[in-house]
């Protein structure tokens, strides 16, 4: 029983990390144009956050649209 609970926690942690891998890969490609130094500039940080928000927002809207189409 404890094992099952642990497995579930691990599994959801792993899914969370998988999502971060995917979002970071997508948004790093779009927002970090040139590597001019080791710092992430304020503009780049804003772009990264905007990219994440827009992606999640698109995801939500797509799911809503799909369920409307199914009706």
């Amino acid at each position: 029983k404890e094992l099952m609970a642990w497995l579930e926690t691990e599994n959801s942690k792993s899914k969370f990390q998988q999502s971060i891998h995917k979002f970071n890969d997508l948004c790093f490609k779009r927002c970090i144009d040139k590597i001019e130094g080791p710092m992430v500039t304020p503009n780049e940080e804003q772009c990264l956050k905007g990219c994440l928000h827009r992606f999640l927002d698109t995801n939500t809207k797509v799911v809503n649209n799909l369920s409307k189409l199914q009706q």
Binding site: F55, T58, V62, V63, N65, L66, L69
Partner: protein
């Protein structure tokens, strides 16, 4: 139960592909664009699906 898992995997893949494609095609992120994009993607899915099914059945004859 396996049937549900397969259907779920299928739905997850559809939602992932839809999200990625509409993220690309609607850089503004507005509702109207995403609604049109979703609908176009599903119509495209039906076109491709019908055409592929036709080809597969033709090949079997």
């Amino acid at each position: 139960k396996l049937e549900i898992e397969l259907a779920q995997a299928n739905a997850t893949e559809l939602v992932n592909n839809l999200t990625e494609n509409c993220f690309e095609k609607c850089p503004g992120g507005d509702d109207a664009c995403i609604a049109s994009c979703t609908q176009k993607y599903m119509v495209s899915w039906n076109i491709i699906s019908q055409a592929y099914l036709g080809l597969v059945q033709n090949a079997k004859r």
